[in-house]
């Protein structure tokens, strides 16, 4: 049984390297290499889109509006769009792109032939989609800084926070990917979950004037907590319940990952 071990040399011991805990980084790295090939279009998407939105809507509609909860509409919209973009970016990656690798390209199947586990792959995809969300967020922060919207250095706290928000939406989206039969399912996800959540989470207009039950429903989901944090830290709106906001977002991130991992494991090792 063991007589051939010398043939593989160092490989026989590779499984005991401490770096094994970070095997998921191979998946992040793979996705990064692919993303880098399309860097130009990716960056234009991250920077130009929010810039056009902010300038167009912020100045266009904003000039017609009085202040919103003590903020100019541009400030209000900027901090809302920040969260919206993080959500969108992470969701798209963890839905469409991840599903492509799961089903159509069978990339995950190939990775599993190597000494990698389903959990390595799922964590890698979760982190990667979270990072893409965070990158979108960072791009918007940059645009906001350029437009002079950021009030203080506390805005820098938003860098780790957008990563957390990205991970939350990445986790939820991976659960959907895990059970999806085709891309059609993602249309439902956006129409029946993402859009309604957006409307009650104070992204484009304040949620305060909504009926209490609707507001409460909004607060069950991470987007409203993300907007509250962004508004407080980026443009200086009053901010309390920081720990609660962070906790809700983190719970979605972790539960999403755990559930997605279980479902994808079942699906792939059937």
């Amino acid at each position: 049984m063991t007589d051939l071990h010398p043939v593989v040399g160092a490989l026989g011991t590779s499984s005991e390297r401490p770096a094994d805990r970070f095997r998921f980084l191979h998946v992040v790295h793979r996705n990064y290499l692919v993303w880098r090939q399309l860097l130009g279009s990716a960056l234009v998407g991250h920077l130009a889109d929010p810039l056009l939105w902010l300038v167009g809507f912020g100045f266009g509609i904003g000039s017609l509006l009085p202040t919103v909860g003590g903020l100019t509409y541009l400030e209000f919209l900027g901090s809302g769009m920040l969260c919206y973009s993080v959500m969108n970016s992470a969701s798209f990656e963890a839905l469409y792109s991840a599903f492509t690798r799961l089903k159509h390209q069978r990339t995950w199947e190939g990775i599993l032939h190597a000494p990698m586990t389903v959990t390595d792959i799922v964590i890698g995809e979760w982190v990667w989609a979270g990072l893409k969300g965070a990158l979108s967020g960072a791009a918007i922060l940059l645009v906001m800084a350029g437009l002079g919207l950021l009030k203080s250095f506390s805005a820098l706290w938003l860098l780790p926070i957008v990563l957390l928000v990205g991970l939350a939406f990445s986790g939820i989206a991976l659960v959907v990917t895990a059970v999806a039969k085709s891309y059609d399912m993602f249309t439902y996800y956006f129409s029946l979950f993402v859009m309604p959540m957006m409307l009650v989470s104070g992204v484009f207009f304040p949620a305060e004037q909504l009926p209490p039950i609707v507001r409460f429903t909004g607060e069950l989901f991470p987007l409203s907590h993300a907007t509250a944090l962004a508004r407080g830290l980026a443009v200086g709106a009053p901010l309390d319940h920081v720990v609660l906001h962070l906790a809700v977002i983190a719970i979605y991130a972790v539960l999403g990952l755990g559930l997605a991992n279980n479902l994808i494991k079942k699906r792939l090792t059937k």
Binding site: M1, S15, R30, T107, L112, H113, A114, P115, T269, K270
Partner: protein
């Protein structure tokens, strides 16, 4: 190298692997044969820890599977039935990226690319995107990819399906080299000549059960009469009824061809003399005859 006992796997109402036992010795080539849907791929996937079996025990490279399947796979190369090369990368990048999953450094992987491309006969395709490769080239690249970790054991599910004769000979040649290097090969194939040529031992699987096992020549000696006469042409039906059945130990009319198996073909051949409308072919028995005898001539699924 591989020990499987009492392996069972069910999909819905259908039990597709029904109590499989296997032993593959180190440094040998083992062939798993069987008609479509017999359960070969499912068995291999269970051995690699890619599918969770319902029951049974598996030991691969000295490690229990699925408990330590990941560690076992570090010493294994896998050629899946359907290629899953990464379409987002070029040929060379596919090899490098795959090596990274084994924990090899980029430099370690790059150092192997040249050798593996020669191995696969793809030296001038290093920078080609995957979608520009032909089916056979993809197959060879998948084989090269499986070698990136210098594996002790190779699992190959139909490695030569879709290859032209040149490429098939190239692959056979490579596989023989791997055997002389002391590696263990486990493969499935639908080409009986390939199994006969490469495998030290084969197992024939049908409907989830292994129905025969042994060295190819042993199976041929044990299951089949040594001489085979194939006869076809006008009037085959009446010749078969009057002479074919009578002068062979075992015979079969499949479509328009009679297959007659016997120890001494002399008497049978004499009945064909002067029958110019009948054509005949005399050959010695091979593994395909064994396969067809044991699994029948009917199409599966």
């Amino acid at each position: 190298m591989l020990k499987v006992a009492g392996l069972r796997k069910r999909y819905g109402d259908l039990e597709v692997v029904r109590g499989v036992n296997l032993q593959v010795a180190s440094g040998t080539c083992f062939g798993l044969l069987g008609p479509n849907g017999a359960g070969k791929t499912t068995t291999l996937r269970c051995c690699l820890g890619l599918t969770t079996p319902d029951s049974g025990s598996i030991e691969l490279a000295g490690l229990p599977v699925p408990a330590q399947a990941r560690e076992a796979r570090a010493r294994v190369g896998v050629v899946p039935q359907f290629d899953n090369l990464d379409p987002d990368f070029t040929v060379a990048e596919n090899l490098i990226m795959y090596g990274r999953y084994f924990g090899l450094s980029r430099r370690e992987c790059e150092a192997q690319v040249e050798r593996l491309l020669v191995f696969a006969g793809l030296t001038d395709k290093a920078k080609a995107p995957i979608e520009t490769l032909s089916g056979g080239m993809k197959r060879r690249l998948t084989l090269a990819r499986a070698m990136i970790n210098d594996p002790q054991i190779l699992f190959m599910d139909e490695p030569t399906t879709g290859l032209d004769p040149q490429a098939r000979h190239l692959v056979w040649d490579r596989l023989k080299t791997l055997l002389t290097e002391g590696r263990t090969l486990i493969l499935t194939t639908h080409f009986m000549d390939e199994a006969q040529r490469l495998c030290d031992r084969v197992a024939i699987m049908d409907q989830g059960v292994i129905i025969a096992e042994g060295a190819p020549h042993e199976l041929i000696d044990r299951e089949i009469e040594p001489a085979v006469i194939e006869v076809y042409g006008d009037g085959i039906d009446s010749w078969f009824e009057t002479a074919g059945k009578r002068y062979s130990e075992r015979s079969e009319l499949a479509g328009d061809t009679a297959f007659c198996y016997c120890h001494d073909p002399g008497p049978l051949l004499r009945t064909l003399e002067g029958l110019s409308e009948l054509r005949s072919l005399r050959r010695s028995a091979n593994l395909e005859d064994v396969f067809l005898k044991l699994t029948g001539r009917d199409l599966r699924d």
